[in-house]
Amino acid sequence: MNLDQLIDYLANDSGFQQRLSKWVTLAPRPARYAPFPENLHLAIVQSLKKKGIKQLYTHQAAAFETVSRGEHVVVVTPTASGKTLAYNLPVFNTLMHDPEARALYLFPTKALSQDQLKEIEDLKGKLQLRTKAYTFDGDTPADIRRTIRTAGNLVVTNPDMLHQGILPHHTLWIKLFENLKYVIIDELHMYRGVFGSHVANLIARLKRLCAFYGSSPRFIMSSATIHNPGELAHNIIGDKVTLIDENGAPAGEKHFLMYNPPVVNAELGLRRGVVNEVKQITRKIVPTGAQIIIFARSRMRVELIVTYLQDIAGELGLRKDQIRGYRGGFLPKERRRIEQGLKNGEIRIVVSTNALELGIDIGQLDVAILAGYPGSIASAWQQSGRAGRRRHTALTIMVASSAPLDQYLMEKPEFFFGKNPETAYVDRENLPILMSHLKCAAFELPFKEDEEFVPHATAHLLDFLASERVLRKAEGQYFWMSDIYPADEVGLRNSTQENVVIVDTTRQNKVIGEMDMFGAQEMLHSEAIYIHNGVPYFVDKLEWDELKAYVHRVDADHYTDAITKVDIKVLDVLEEQKEPRYKKMLTEVAVTRAVTGYKKIKFKSHENIGFGRVYLPELEMQTTALMLQFPREVLEKNGLKESEISEGLKSIAYALRHLAPLFIICDVSDIAIFSVVRDPFARDPVIYIYDKYQGGIGLSKKLYAREGLLLAAAREHIAGCVCTHGCPACIGPTLEHDENARETALRILNAMELKT
């Protein structure tokens, strides 16, 4: 059975059909071509023609012409639309005239840069250029590094390596900086939130050094479809950027199925779980021989699905090792093995976090199953692009979870298939991030007194660092005055640099992975069941001071779910505004989080079978929060009792948190929410929605301007839910609140007299 037959088969399966809330067939799109630009070197034109490329796609030609005019450019392209050529043409054209020219390629991950080098080599071969291209990353041997520094025309690397390995040693890279003509930034949409804010600062450092060496490179960027690629590009490179979003590449027919699991308990509004449903769908598809990629939202989810599928491997006619998980926390070697297994077809089913969403070459897969809405529309389309990349027909099945966001989209599929409303946001001025990069920049090159790194504030920040004795002001410049290497003090990907190492005591203390500190508190606390590649491990001890978790393999019938205690202190009120019935404030807060215990949850039945205590130090973070204050007197006037208010707030908070990503672009995990009936600061019932990052990342600030829309959406969604007493799709699982909570939540929201 091939893919088309499978699609026919599904279309005739009435049981399957019933569960679809939408079957969208996107018609194939023909290619649109443009002639070769006049100033494209003849040799390039000829060798392209020889390889069967008779004309360029419109976006490729447009990108070339824009860059030729000396402008920066961002090209919006879906996967497999010839973007590699789009950004390589200007580079290679320049190299034909100037063999000393240099270009820097930035890919968000090491794996991607390895992959892209292959493509560059291929093009180089076609053009018969003697250009030298290298990847430069942590694995590059020392003796080759020297060659790359002096002779590498094309240096393919990632932001982390630029940050730690190249910029702080710029004097060794003088050839690169003096001759840098292009900087290529691929997968630009990845650079949002914390990572994006880091990268925007990193690019500012890069440009500063280029200016020192007298070069002024053009930036060529590519992005997946988001609402504001131009704005994002502008914010990342701090300069005017030309946007090219007319894509000329052809696309095959695409089937996108929105699958809503059946309601199993109408009273509770409970639907069948995503994991089980994915298992059933997989069962249907495997006999067709199709290679399947399943995307899950969390590492934990990945492990669960792998476990469940491996259990039925025999029934599916597969060996267990043909079903693999892929996620962060695996060692690079293991990842390479899985990528290879996918490419040569040995692995039939891969279950992945968004780690495989990016363009890592895993060959062509047939079907993509999204186990739950991935949290952003851009992400959903990228994941969907993993199926049928090079075929004509592609099939994606998105299985909705009971999460409010998923159910909202099942109710309103047009929201998903319309123009993507998602806005990517970076905050150049997140103070902790900015400070880290200011230090790195000062290490790299002394600051001049009147130099600007960020608008307006540079001098103040430098003076502050001087007063902290990190910098020294002399001769009208600020010099680095510390024996630490500042780039080592900050990682670009998360707010905490340090990781907890996972040690398997059953295999001679082999290190099987690592995890950031926040994640480690939740997944690797003592007595946790930690699942790694489908194998459950018992955590004997989490040595917090040494940042080591000692685990051993077990046969477990349950997994653990951490209980986190949160406390919020308001440090400063940045803005406030009174609405008719409630008040909103934008505040600076200190949040302390600590894992205090855990629940034991039985596999499959998901029963709660016990608790345990955990003793770990609190992790503190300073961030910004939107505070919604619901005056007690208004609520009491509406006949709400204090115990009811508590339940109601919790329910509203749940809905707000899950619907927020519709209005601000972020993952549900980027924000956190906290409700309290007697807030010590406001002395009223309060809901906090805060950025889950040190220093805040601008999310709650954006939400502050749209809180009315969010509250209204929450009310609409809670009111419209199919359940009777509240369910995970609206106000959270029934077991966790009393039976009037849904009604109470609505009473509170109605009392606020929201505009709609």
Partner: protein
């Protein structure tokens, strides 16, 4: 205006005052302590010069053997500029500032030392420009571990000041490599301090550990206290002097007119270096042995035998091999060499076979004790088979 804003103005005023006085009392005190000079009026740099007699040093340096051919011609010591930096950081990178740049050279029986101390950041340009023509009077730059640290730092500083200096054109002799080659097995560590202690028999007093040096400089900038900076300048001074004497030690290894600085382990390592040269400088063994009081180690003899073999003196080597059979580490290796020699050079297959059988017998005994020299055992078996076929 609230008090905190007033305070920030007040602080700014204080800062401005400090900046005006580039000739600080601390710098004057330092100058007087060393009877040093201050260069450049507006951006002073302290220059400390000294010289002391050192007649007992060879003026020609021959590093051909210890550098394994990298410097194959004799070098005139006068053409060597020794250098050592003290820096604001030990991890490298462009934010590392060399605040003390020390040079030493030897001329007419005296060691001369010049140390430039930069009492603040941003004092480099004038100094570098002044130094540049002087570098032309040298052909070689000598350092200890300068290839991986000091020279990259200095190059980085030149670049940051957009200067292209002659220093970069000098050939670089980094003593750490030949020193390790010779003394690696003799000393617990091959850092400069242990070399001084064991080879030069110099002991440092009140020396400041290298790891503290960056902080000393930062404290000096902040407080102007000079006690610890003096320790750093003295430390650098000692380092520079030691560099010259260590080079001299290396140079004397094959100087038969004087006593050697080589212990038994170092002699074995030198023998190994000699065995690796092409052509093999056999006379070097004579020199080594002419001053040796104790019997040579088995390892020494082994490398000597290999050197003899490579030099085509297999007969002499064979004598050594027979002697070395008694040393378990070498037993089978030299028996193999003997067997090869007997078979291929002398064509005495019978004698060769005898040795092979002897070796196999020994190995079989050892195997009973759990020792399994599998590869060499198989080699001997193969050799035995061949020899049996021949005879």
């Amino acid at each position: 205006m609230d008090i905190s804003r007033k305070l920030s103005f007040y602080k700014r005023e204080m800062g401005r005052q400090k900046e005006h006085s580039s000739l600080s009392p601390a710098l004057i005190a330092l100058r007087d302590h060393y009877s040093a000079r201050l260069l450049f009026d507006d951006h002073p740099v302290l220059l400390r010069e000294k010289s002391e007699p050192a007649a007992d040093i060879n003026s020609q340096i021959d590093l051909k053997i210890v550098s394994r051919g990298e410097f194959d011609r004799p070098v005139a010591l006068e053409r060597c500029l020794f250098f050592d930096l003290e820096t604001s950081g030990l991890m490298g990178g462009s934010g590392v500032y060399a605040f003390l740049i020390g040079f030493a050279w030897w001329a007419e029986g005296r060691i001369h030392i010049r140390q430039y101390f930069l009492p603040d950041f941003g004092r480099e340009p004038l100094l570098f420009l002044k130094l540049d023509p002087w570098f032309k009077s040298f052909d070689y730059l000598v350092s200890f571990n300068g290839k991986s640290f000091d020279l990259p730092v200095l190059n980085s500083r030149f670049l940051m000041n957009r200067l292209d200096l002659h220093l970069k054109k000098l050939k670089h002799i980094d003593l750490i490599h030949p020193v390790r080659r010779v003394w690696k097995d003799s000393l617990p560590s091959c850092d400069l301090q242990s070399l001084e202690l064991h080879l030069l028999e110099r002991r440092r007093d009140n020396d400041i550990p290298g790891a503290f040096i960056p902080q000393v400089y930062f404290d000096f900038l902040q407080t102007g206290r000079i006690q610890d900076i003096i320790r750093v300048i003295d430390h650098n001074d000692t380092d520079l002097g030691s560099l010259i004497f260590i080079l001299d030690k290396l140079n004397r290894i094959f100087d038969d007119s004087r006593a050697l600085a080589l212990d038994i382990a170092a002699r074995a390592r030198v023998a190994r270096i000699i065995a690796g040269q092409k052509p093999v400088p056999l006379q070097a063994f004579k020199i080594l042995e002419s001053s040796g009081q104790e019997p040579e180690s088995a390892e020494y003899l082994y490398w000597k035998s290999m050197a003899l073999k490579r030099a085509g003196k297999a007969e002499q080597a064979h004598t050594l091999w027979q002697k070395l059979q008694r040393y378990p580490v070498f037993t089978f290796r030299v028996m193999e060499e003997s067997a090869k020699y007997l078979e291929h050079n002398l064509r005495k297959n019978g004698e060769a076979l005898k040795i092979v059988e002897q070796a196999l017998h020994l190995m079989e005994i050892q195997r009973e004790f759990g020792y399994r020299p599998e590869k060499i055992y198989a080699d001997f078996l193969r050799r035995k088979k061949r020899l049996l076929q021949k005879s």
